[in-house]
Protein backbone atom coordinates (compact mmCIF):
# COMPACT_ATOMS: atom_id res chain seq x y z
CA UNK A 1 0.00 0.00 0.00
CA UNK A 2 2.90 2.31 0.43
CA UNK A 3 3.99 2.73 -3.15
CA UNK A 4 0.75 3.99 -4.54
CA UNK A 5 1.23 6.79 -6.94
CA UNK A 6 -2.26 7.20 -8.21
CA UNK A 7 -3.50 10.72 -8.14
CA UNK A 8 -6.49 10.17 -5.92
CA UNK A 9 -6.07 13.25 -3.92
CA UNK A 10 -5.95 15.99 -6.49
CA UNK A 11 -3.24 18.59 -6.65
CA UNK A 12 -0.69 18.16 -3.89
CA UNK A 13 -0.88 21.77 -2.88
CA UNK A 14 -4.41 21.15 -1.68
CA UNK A 15 -3.04 18.70 0.84
CA UNK A 16 0.37 20.09 1.38
CA UNK A 17 -0.63 22.76 3.80
CA UNK A 18 1.04 22.21 7.07
CA UNK A 19 2.94 19.19 5.94
CA UNK A 20 6.20 20.91 6.48
CA UNK A 21 4.98 22.21 9.77
CA UNK A 22 3.70 20.42 12.81
CA UNK A 23 2.25 16.93 12.52
CA UNK A 24 -0.78 18.21 14.35
CA UNK A 25 -1.49 20.66 11.55
CA UNK A 26 -1.22 18.03 8.87
CA UNK A 27 -3.33 15.66 10.93
CA UNK A 28 -6.10 18.21 11.21
CA UNK A 29 -5.92 18.90 7.50
CA UNK A 30 -6.17 15.18 6.92
CA UNK A 31 -9.46 15.04 8.79
CA UNK A 32 -10.85 18.18 7.27
CA UNK A 33 -10.06 17.09 3.74
CA UNK A 34 -11.14 13.48 3.94
CA UNK A 35 -13.52 12.89 6.78
CA UNK A 36 -16.70 12.69 4.71
CA UNK A 37 -15.19 10.19 2.31
CA UNK A 38 -13.99 7.94 5.07
CA UNK A 39 -17.18 8.15 7.07
CA UNK A 40 -19.35 7.44 4.03
CA UNK A 41 -17.19 4.53 2.99
CA UNK A 42 -17.40 2.99 6.45
CA UNK A 43 -21.16 3.35 6.49
CA UNK A 44 -21.63 1.75 3.10
CA UNK A 45 -19.30 -1.05 4.07
CA UNK A 46 -21.71 -1.91 6.82
CA UNK A 47 -20.45 -0.04 9.86
CA UNK A 48 -23.52 0.96 11.86
CA UNK A 49 -24.15 4.63 12.24
CA UNK A 50 -23.56 4.42 15.97
CA UNK A 51 -20.11 2.93 15.40
CA UNK A 52 -19.10 4.95 12.36
CA UNK A 53 -17.89 7.78 14.52
CA UNK A 54 -15.42 5.64 16.45
CA UNK A 55 -14.43 3.69 13.36
CA UNK A 56 -13.64 6.90 11.49
CA UNK A 57 -11.58 8.06 14.43
CA UNK A 58 -9.61 4.84 14.28
CA UNK A 59 -8.92 5.38 10.60
CA UNK A 60 -7.66 8.88 11.16
CA UNK A 61 -5.64 7.99 14.20
CA UNK A 62 -3.91 5.30 12.18
CA UNK A 63 -3.37 7.91 9.50
CA UNK A 64 -1.99 10.39 11.98
CA UNK A 65 0.38 7.92 13.52
CA UNK A 66 1.67 7.01 10.11
CA UNK A 67 1.77 10.50 8.69
CA UNK A 68 5.45 10.21 7.96
CA UNK A 69 4.82 7.11 5.84
CA UNK A 70 2.09 8.65 3.71
CA UNK A 71 3.47 10.28 0.59
CA UNK A 72 2.10 13.70 -0.16
CA UNK A 73 -0.95 13.40 -2.34
CA UNK A 74 -1.62 9.81 -1.35
CA UNK A 75 -3.55 10.58 1.77
CA UNK A 76 -6.89 9.46 0.49
CA UNK A 77 -5.54 6.24 -0.90
CA UNK A 78 -4.05 5.44 2.45
CA UNK A 79 -7.19 6.38 4.36
CA UNK A 80 -9.44 4.36 2.07
CA UNK A 81 -7.24 1.35 2.60
CA UNK A 82 -7.30 1.86 6.35
CA UNK A 83 -11.09 2.26 6.28
CA UNK A 84 -11.49 -0.99 4.38
CA UNK A 85 -9.46 -2.77 7.03
CA UNK A 86 -11.31 -1.20 9.93
CA UNK A 87 -14.67 -2.09 8.38
CA UNK A 88 -13.45 -5.57 7.58
CA UNK A 89 -12.20 -6.12 11.11
CA UNK A 90 -15.56 -5.10 12.46
CA UNK A 91 -17.31 -7.41 10.03
CA UNK A 92 -15.02 -10.31 10.73
CA UNK A 93 -15.81 -10.36 14.37
CA UNK A 94 -18.30 -13.11 13.97
CA UNK A 95 -19.58 -12.83 17.52
CA UNK A 96 -20.83 -9.42 16.73
CA UNK A 97 -21.81 -10.06 13.19
CA UNK A 98 -25.47 -10.51 13.75
CA UNK A 99 -25.82 -7.40 15.81
CA UNK A 100 -23.65 -5.56 13.33
CA UNK A 101 -25.84 -6.35 10.38
CA UNK A 102 -29.00 -5.80 12.32
CA UNK A 103 -28.06 -2.38 13.56
CA UNK A 104 -26.51 -1.36 10.27
CA UNK A 105 -29.82 -1.98 8.61
CA UNK A 106 -31.93 -0.68 11.43
CA UNK A 107 -30.26 2.46 12.59
CA UNK A 108 -30.93 4.29 9.37
CA UNK A 109 -34.63 4.10 9.85
CA UNK A 110 -35.93 7.55 10.21
CA UNK A 111 -37.61 8.80 13.28
CA UNK A 112 -41.14 10.03 12.89
CA UNK A 113 -40.04 13.54 13.66
CA UNK A 114 -37.88 13.85 10.56
CA UNK A 115 -39.05 16.00 7.70
CA UNK A 116 -40.24 14.09 4.69
CA UNK A 117 -37.08 14.54 2.65
CA UNK A 118 -34.88 13.37 5.45
CA UNK A 119 -37.15 10.44 6.00
CA UNK A 120 -36.97 9.54 2.35
CA UNK A 121 -33.21 9.93 2.32
CA UNK A 122 -32.67 7.72 5.32
CA UNK A 123 -35.02 5.10 4.02
CA UNK A 124 -33.22 5.10 0.73
CA UNK A 125 -29.89 4.67 2.50
CA UNK A 126 -31.27 1.89 4.64
CA UNK A 127 -32.59 0.19 1.54
CA UNK A 128 -29.26 0.63 -0.18
CA UNK A 129 -27.46 -0.86 2.80
CA UNK A 130 -29.80 -3.79 2.68
CA UNK A 131 -28.91 -4.34 -0.96
CA UNK A 132 -25.21 -4.01 -0.20
CA UNK A 133 -25.40 -6.45 2.68
CA UNK A 134 -26.56 -9.14 0.28
CA UNK A 135 -23.19 -9.03 -1.47
CA UNK A 136 -20.00 -10.81 -0.58
CA UNK A 137 -17.66 -8.52 1.32
CA UNK A 138 -15.16 -8.54 -1.52
CA UNK A 139 -17.76 -7.49 -4.02
CA UNK A 140 -19.21 -4.93 -1.69
CA UNK A 141 -15.89 -3.14 -1.24
CA UNK A 142 -15.36 -2.93 -4.96
CA UNK A 143 -18.92 -1.87 -5.64
CA UNK A 144 -18.84 0.92 -3.05
CA UNK A 145 -15.49 2.24 -4.21
CA UNK A 146 -16.44 2.14 -7.90
CA UNK A 147 -20.10 3.06 -7.88
CA UNK A 148 -20.43 5.32 -4.87
CA UNK A 149 -16.96 6.79 -4.52
CA UNK A 150 -16.63 6.71 -8.31
CA UNK A 151 -13.00 5.71 -8.33
CA UNK A 152 -11.41 4.17 -11.39
CA UNK A 153 -10.55 0.48 -11.55
CA UNK A 154 -6.79 1.09 -11.21
CA UNK A 155 -7.37 3.29 -8.18
CA UNK A 156 -9.58 0.66 -6.59
CA UNK A 157 -7.07 -2.04 -7.42
CA UNK A 158 -4.38 -0.08 -5.64
CA UNK A 159 -6.51 0.47 -2.56
CA UNK A 160 -7.80 -3.05 -2.24
CA UNK A 161 -4.55 -4.62 -3.29
CA UNK A 162 -5.80 -6.82 -6.11
CA UNK A 163 -5.14 -6.79 -9.85
CA UNK A 164 -7.25 -4.54 -12.05
CA UNK A 165 -8.75 -7.58 -13.72
CA UNK A 166 -10.00 -8.81 -10.38
CA UNK A 167 -11.59 -5.45 -9.72
CA UNK A 168 -13.38 -5.65 -13.05
CA UNK A 169 -14.69 -9.15 -12.49
CA UNK A 170 -15.77 -8.47 -8.92
CA UNK A 171 -17.50 -5.30 -10.01
CA UNK A 172 -19.34 -7.19 -12.70
CA UNK A 173 -20.56 -9.76 -10.22
CA UNK A 174 -21.38 -7.06 -7.69
CA UNK A 175 -23.48 -5.14 -10.20
CA UNK A 176 -25.31 -8.29 -11.14
CA UNK A 177 -25.96 -9.14 -7.53
CA UNK A 178 -27.08 -5.60 -6.79
CA UNK A 179 -29.50 -5.57 -9.72
CA UNK A 180 -30.89 -8.98 -8.89
CA UNK A 181 -31.42 -8.11 -5.24
CA UNK A 182 -33.03 -4.83 -6.19
CA UNK A 183 -35.41 -6.64 -8.49
CA UNK A 184 -36.17 -9.27 -5.88
CA UNK A 185 -36.93 -6.78 -3.10
CA UNK A 186 -38.96 -4.63 -5.42
CA UNK A 187 -41.04 -7.61 -6.51
CA UNK A 188 -41.45 -8.54 -2.87
CA UNK A 189 -42.50 -5.05 -1.91
CA UNK A 190 -45.17 -4.54 -4.50
Amino acid sequence: MSDLSLALDGPPEANARGTLGKPETRARALVNDHFDFVWRLLRRLGVPEADADDAAQQVFIVGTRRLADIPLGNERTFLYGAALRVASTLRRNSARRERFIRSAAGDSEASTRSPHDELERRRALAFLDQLLSSMDDDQREIFVLCEIEELTAPQVAAIVGVPVGTVASRLRRARHSFGAELKRLKAQGT
Binding site: R28, F35, D54, V62, R102, A124, G189
Partner: protein, 311 residues
Protein backbone atom coordinates in the same frame (compact mmCIF):
# COMPACT_ATOMS: atom_id res chain seq x y z
CA UNK B 1 -34.26 -6.26 8.62
CA UNK B 2 -35.23 -3.02 7.03
CA UNK B 3 -38.88 -2.67 6.55
CA UNK B 4 -40.12 -2.29 3.03
CA UNK B 5 -40.40 1.36 2.12
CA UNK B 6 -43.89 2.72 1.95
CA UNK B 7 -45.64 2.86 -1.37
CA UNK B 8 -45.55 6.57 -2.12
CA UNK B 9 -41.78 6.76 -2.09
CA UNK B 10 -38.63 6.32 -4.09
CA UNK B 11 -39.50 2.67 -4.08
CA UNK B 12 -42.00 3.22 -6.87
CA UNK B 13 -39.35 4.34 -9.29
CA UNK B 14 -38.48 2.00 -12.15
CA UNK B 15 -35.52 -0.24 -11.38
CA UNK B 16 -32.93 1.62 -13.40
CA UNK B 17 -34.02 4.93 -12.02
CA UNK B 18 -34.17 3.58 -8.50
CA UNK B 19 -30.61 2.30 -8.74
CA UNK B 20 -29.37 5.66 -9.94
CA UNK B 21 -31.35 7.38 -7.21
CA UNK B 22 -29.88 5.20 -4.48
CA UNK B 23 -26.34 5.75 -5.68
CA UNK B 24 -26.93 9.49 -5.91
CA UNK B 25 -28.22 9.59 -2.35
CA UNK B 26 -25.26 7.53 -1.18
CA UNK B 27 -22.73 9.80 -2.88
CA UNK B 28 -24.23 12.81 -1.16
CA UNK B 29 -24.22 11.19 2.26
CA UNK B 30 -22.05 13.21 4.59
CA UNK B 31 -20.73 12.66 8.06
CA UNK B 32 -22.27 14.48 10.98
CA UNK B 33 -20.37 17.63 11.78
CA UNK B 34 -19.91 16.61 15.39
CA UNK B 35 -18.24 13.38 14.35
CA UNK B 36 -15.73 15.29 12.31
CA UNK B 37 -15.00 17.61 15.19
CA UNK B 38 -14.40 14.74 17.55
CA UNK B 39 -12.00 13.16 15.13
CA UNK B 40 -10.14 16.43 14.64
CA UNK B 41 -9.84 16.54 18.39
CA UNK B 42 -8.59 13.00 18.62
CA UNK B 43 -5.98 13.25 15.89
CA UNK B 44 -4.75 16.51 17.29
CA UNK B 45 -4.12 14.69 20.50
CA UNK B 46 -2.42 11.82 18.76
CA UNK B 47 -0.13 14.24 16.98
CA UNK B 48 0.60 15.85 20.31
CA UNK B 49 0.80 12.50 21.99
CA UNK B 50 3.51 11.45 19.61
CA UNK B 51 5.43 14.45 20.77
CA UNK B 52 4.82 13.65 24.39
CA UNK B 53 5.58 10.01 24.30
CA UNK B 54 7.85 9.57 21.34
CA UNK B 55 10.75 7.44 22.26
CA UNK B 56 8.65 5.43 24.64
CA UNK B 57 7.81 1.87 23.96
CA UNK B 58 4.08 2.28 23.98
CA UNK B 59 3.55 5.01 21.45
CA UNK B 60 6.64 4.52 19.42
CA UNK B 61 6.84 3.38 15.87
CA UNK B 62 4.78 0.24 16.15
CA UNK B 63 1.76 0.95 14.05
CA UNK B 64 -0.76 -1.80 13.95
CA UNK B 65 -4.27 -1.19 12.84
CA UNK B 66 -6.77 -1.15 15.65
CA UNK B 67 -4.11 -0.71 18.19
CA UNK B 68 -6.65 -0.31 20.86
CA UNK B 69 -4.77 1.14 23.73
CA UNK B 70 -2.98 3.82 21.80
CA UNK B 71 -6.27 4.76 20.33
CA UNK B 72 -7.75 4.89 23.77
CA UNK B 73 -5.06 7.03 25.21
CA UNK B 74 -5.49 9.43 22.34
CA UNK B 75 -9.08 9.88 23.35
CA UNK B 76 -8.05 10.17 26.92
CA UNK B 77 -5.61 12.91 26.07
CA UNK B 78 -8.27 14.60 23.99
CA UNK B 79 -10.65 14.56 26.88
CA UNK B 80 -8.14 15.76 29.39
CA UNK B 81 -6.75 18.57 27.35
CA UNK B 82 -9.94 19.60 25.72
CA UNK B 83 -11.67 20.24 28.96
CA UNK B 84 -8.76 21.60 30.84
CA UNK B 85 -9.20 18.83 33.33
CA UNK B 86 -5.78 17.69 32.32
CA UNK B 87 -4.67 20.76 34.16
CA UNK B 88 -6.60 19.57 37.15
CA UNK B 89 -5.09 16.17 36.76
CA UNK B 90 -1.59 17.40 37.07
CA UNK B 91 -2.22 19.58 40.05
CA UNK B 92 -1.10 16.77 42.26
CA UNK B 93 2.22 16.99 40.60
CA UNK B 94 2.49 20.72 40.93
CA UNK B 95 3.74 20.67 44.47
CA UNK B 96 6.33 18.19 43.52
CA UNK B 97 7.34 20.32 40.59
CA UNK B 98 7.90 23.31 42.78
CA UNK B 99 10.91 21.55 44.11
CA UNK B 100 11.94 19.86 40.88
CA UNK B 101 11.10 22.08 37.95
CA UNK B 102 11.21 19.63 35.07
CA UNK B 103 11.18 21.26 31.68
CA UNK B 104 10.01 18.21 29.85
CA UNK B 105 9.01 18.01 26.24
CA UNK B 106 5.58 17.13 27.49
CA UNK B 107 5.03 20.63 28.71
CA UNK B 108 5.69 21.98 25.25
CA UNK B 109 3.50 19.49 23.58
CA UNK B 110 0.71 20.06 26.03
CA UNK B 111 0.92 23.79 25.74
CA UNK B 112 -1.02 23.77 22.51
CA UNK B 113 -4.43 22.52 23.47
CA UNK B 114 -6.87 21.63 20.71
CA UNK B 115 -9.18 24.40 19.72
CA UNK B 116 -12.23 22.41 18.87
CA UNK B 117 -14.84 21.60 21.44
CA UNK B 118 -14.53 18.26 23.07
CA UNK B 119 -17.12 15.56 23.13
CA UNK B 120 -18.79 15.79 26.50
CA UNK B 121 -18.99 12.09 27.03
CA UNK B 122 -15.30 11.84 26.46
CA UNK B 123 -14.70 14.41 29.08
CA UNK B 124 -16.90 12.73 31.59
CA UNK B 125 -15.97 9.17 30.89
CA UNK B 126 -12.31 9.38 30.19
CA UNK B 127 -11.32 11.95 32.65
CA UNK B 128 -8.12 10.96 34.30
CA UNK B 129 -8.78 9.36 37.64
CA UNK B 130 -6.33 11.82 39.11
CA UNK B 131 -8.59 14.63 38.14
CA UNK B 132 -11.59 12.81 39.47
CA UNK B 133 -9.82 12.57 42.75
CA UNK B 134 -8.93 16.22 42.61
CA UNK B 135 -12.54 17.10 42.01
CA UNK B 136 -13.74 14.63 44.55
CA UNK B 137 -11.50 15.95 47.25
CA UNK B 138 -14.01 18.71 47.77
CA UNK B 139 -16.63 16.05 48.30
CA UNK B 140 -16.10 13.64 51.18
CA UNK B 141 -18.03 10.65 49.74
CA UNK B 142 -15.42 10.08 47.07
CA UNK B 143 -13.21 7.06 47.65
CA UNK B 144 -9.87 8.75 47.90
CA UNK B 145 -8.41 6.63 50.63
CA UNK B 146 -5.73 5.30 48.36
CA UNK B 147 -4.68 8.68 47.09
CA UNK B 148 -0.99 9.11 47.70
CA UNK B 149 -0.94 12.89 47.55
CA UNK B 150 -4.31 13.91 48.84
CA UNK B 151 -3.90 17.57 49.78
CA UNK B 152 -4.96 19.41 46.67
CA UNK B 153 -2.82 22.46 46.16
CA UNK B 154 -4.74 25.68 45.84
CA UNK B 155 -4.11 26.02 42.18
CA UNK B 156 -6.32 28.05 39.91
CA UNK B 157 -7.44 24.93 38.13
CA UNK B 158 -10.49 23.90 40.12
CA UNK B 159 -11.46 27.47 40.81
CA UNK B 160 -11.42 28.60 37.18
CA UNK B 161 -14.86 29.52 35.95
CA UNK B 162 -15.70 26.62 33.75
CA UNK B 163 -18.17 26.99 30.94
CA UNK B 164 -19.54 23.68 29.78
CA UNK B 165 -18.01 22.87 26.47
CA UNK B 166 -20.98 21.24 24.83
CA UNK B 167 -24.49 20.19 25.58
CA UNK B 168 -24.53 19.60 29.31
CA UNK B 169 -27.33 17.06 29.14
CA UNK B 170 -24.95 14.67 27.50
CA UNK B 171 -22.57 14.68 30.39
CA UNK B 172 -22.38 11.71 32.58
CA UNK B 173 -24.67 11.34 35.53
CA UNK B 174 -21.97 9.47 37.32
CA UNK B 175 -18.28 9.90 37.22
CA UNK B 176 -15.77 7.14 37.06
CA UNK B 177 -14.64 5.92 40.41
CA UNK B 178 -11.73 3.76 41.29
CA UNK B 179 -12.04 0.35 39.74
CA UNK B 180 -10.32 -2.22 41.79
CA UNK B 181 -9.28 -5.68 40.72
CA UNK B 182 -12.77 -6.80 41.61
CA UNK B 183 -14.16 -4.33 39.12
CA UNK B 184 -16.11 -2.38 41.67
CA UNK B 185 -17.48 0.75 40.14
CA UNK B 186 -19.01 2.83 42.86
CA UNK B 187 -20.44 5.91 41.22
CA UNK B 188 -19.20 9.25 42.40
CA UNK B 189 -22.18 11.43 41.80
CA UNK B 190 -20.55 14.52 43.17
CA UNK B 191 -18.20 14.93 40.27
CA UNK B 192 -21.07 15.13 37.88
CA UNK B 193 -22.17 18.37 39.39
CA UNK B 194 -18.83 19.91 38.81
CA UNK B 195 -18.47 22.05 35.74
CA UNK B 196 -16.84 20.08 33.02
CA UNK B 197 -13.74 22.17 32.91
CA UNK B 198 -12.49 25.44 31.54
CA UNK B 199 -12.22 26.03 27.80
CA UNK B 200 -9.44 24.37 25.93
CA UNK B 201 -7.44 27.54 25.86
CA UNK B 202 -7.25 27.66 29.61
CA UNK B 203 -3.90 28.88 30.70
CA UNK B 204 -4.03 26.42 33.53
CA UNK B 205 -3.92 23.49 31.19
CA UNK B 206 -1.29 25.18 29.13
CA UNK B 207 0.98 26.11 31.95
CA UNK B 208 0.79 23.14 34.22
CA UNK B 209 3.59 20.83 33.17
CA UNK B 210 3.10 17.13 33.45
CA UNK B 211 5.25 15.49 36.05
CA UNK B 212 7.92 13.41 34.47
CA UNK B 213 7.08 10.29 36.43
CA UNK B 214 3.45 10.36 35.29
CA UNK B 215 4.68 10.06 31.74
CA UNK B 216 6.64 6.97 32.43
CA UNK B 217 3.86 5.40 34.45
CA UNK B 218 1.38 6.14 31.70
CA UNK B 219 3.72 4.43 29.32
CA UNK B 220 3.89 1.48 31.66
CA UNK B 221 0.11 1.41 31.94
CA UNK B 222 -0.19 1.47 28.18
CA UNK B 223 2.30 -1.31 27.84
CA UNK B 224 0.32 -3.57 30.14
CA UNK B 225 -2.95 -2.80 28.41
CA UNK B 226 -1.35 -3.51 25.08
CA UNK B 227 -0.38 -6.89 26.46
CA UNK B 228 -4.01 -7.42 27.36
CA UNK B 229 -4.99 -6.43 23.87
CA UNK B 230 -2.58 -8.74 22.16
CA UNK B 231 -3.63 -11.58 24.45
CA UNK B 232 -7.23 -11.00 23.48
CA UNK B 233 -6.27 -10.84 19.85
CA UNK B 234 -4.67 -14.25 20.25
CA UNK B 235 -7.71 -15.53 22.09
CA UNK B 236 -5.75 -16.06 25.26
CA UNK B 237 -8.23 -14.74 27.84
CA UNK B 238 -6.30 -16.25 30.74
CA UNK B 239 -3.24 -14.25 29.87
CA UNK B 240 -5.36 -11.16 29.34
CA UNK B 241 -6.98 -11.49 32.74
CA UNK B 242 -3.62 -12.08 34.38
CA UNK B 243 -2.27 -8.93 32.76
CA UNK B 244 -5.34 -7.02 33.90
CA UNK B 245 -4.82 -8.23 37.46
CA UNK B 246 -1.22 -7.11 37.20
CA UNK B 247 -2.43 -3.77 35.97
CA UNK B 248 -4.74 -3.28 38.92
CA UNK B 249 -2.10 -4.44 41.35
CA UNK B 250 0.46 -2.05 39.95
CA UNK B 251 -1.87 0.87 39.27
CA UNK B 252 -4.73 0.76 41.75
CA UNK B 253 -5.51 4.30 40.69
CA UNK B 254 -4.21 4.12 37.16
CA UNK B 255 -5.09 6.58 34.47
CA UNK B 256 -6.53 3.96 32.18
CA UNK B 257 -8.90 2.28 34.60
CA UNK B 258 -11.87 2.69 32.32
CA UNK B 259 -10.06 1.13 29.42
CA UNK B 260 -8.96 -1.68 31.68
CA UNK B 261 -12.54 -2.20 32.79
CA UNK B 262 -13.73 -2.42 29.20
CA UNK B 263 -10.98 -4.87 28.39
CA UNK B 264 -11.94 -6.99 31.36
CA UNK B 265 -15.45 -7.35 30.01
CA UNK B 266 -13.97 -8.59 26.79
CA UNK B 267 -11.51 -10.92 28.49
CA UNK B 268 -14.11 -12.47 30.78
CA UNK B 269 -16.42 -12.92 27.81
CA UNK B 270 -13.67 -14.59 25.86
CA UNK B 271 -12.96 -16.90 28.77
CA UNK B 272 -16.47 -18.26 28.40
CA UNK B 273 -17.99 -16.86 31.57
CA UNK B 274 -20.68 -15.04 29.70
CA UNK B 275 -22.90 -14.43 32.68
CA UNK B 276 -20.12 -12.62 34.49
CA UNK B 277 -19.17 -10.76 31.34
CA UNK B 278 -22.69 -9.55 31.01
CA UNK B 279 -22.81 -8.43 34.63
CA UNK B 280 -19.54 -6.59 34.20
CA UNK B 281 -20.79 -5.03 30.99
CA UNK B 282 -23.91 -3.80 32.74
CA UNK B 283 -21.84 -2.42 35.59
CA UNK B 284 -19.56 -0.69 33.12
CA UNK B 285 -22.42 0.86 31.20
CA UNK B 286 -24.05 2.00 34.43
CA UNK B 287 -20.88 3.62 35.66
CA UNK B 288 -19.79 5.09 32.36
CA UNK B 289 -22.95 5.60 30.37
CA UNK B 290 -21.29 8.03 28.02
CA UNK B 291 -17.99 6.30 27.54
CA UNK B 292 -16.98 5.96 23.92
CA UNK B 293 -16.06 2.43 24.87
CA UNK B 294 -19.68 1.86 25.71
CA UNK B 295 -20.60 0.75 22.22
CA UNK B 296 -17.93 -1.91 22.34
CA UNK B 297 -18.93 -3.10 25.79
CA UNK B 298 -22.58 -3.00 24.84
CA UNK B 299 -21.87 -5.13 21.83
CA UNK B 300 -20.46 -7.77 24.11
CA UNK B 301 -23.29 -7.55 26.57
CA UNK B 302 -25.78 -7.97 23.73
CA UNK B 303 -23.91 -10.87 22.29
CA UNK B 304 -24.03 -12.56 25.65
CA UNK B 305 -27.73 -12.01 26.16
CA UNK B 306 -28.59 -15.26 24.47
CA UNK B 307 -25.86 -17.08 26.32
CA UNK B 308 -26.56 -15.78 29.77
CA UNK B 309 -28.81 -18.57 31.04
CA UNK B 310 -26.25 -21.17 30.07
CA UNK B 311 -23.74 -22.24 32.70
Amino acid sequence: MTETPSSDSFFDKPEGELEAFLLRIARADAAPKAARERTVQAVGSVALGLGVLSGTAALGSRTTLLKGTSWLVAKWLAAGMGTGLFGVAVTQGVQQLVSEPASSPASHALSAPPRTPVRPNLSSALVAPDSVTAVAEAEPPAPSATAPATPAPATPAPATPAPVVRAPERTSAVAPAAIGPGFSMAPVTSAAREPKGPPATSSVAAEAPAPANSRSSLTRELTILEQVHSALAQHAPGRALQALDDYHAEFPRGSLQIEAAALRVEAVGQSGNHALAQRLARAFLASYPNSPLGARVRAFSEVFVGDAPKP
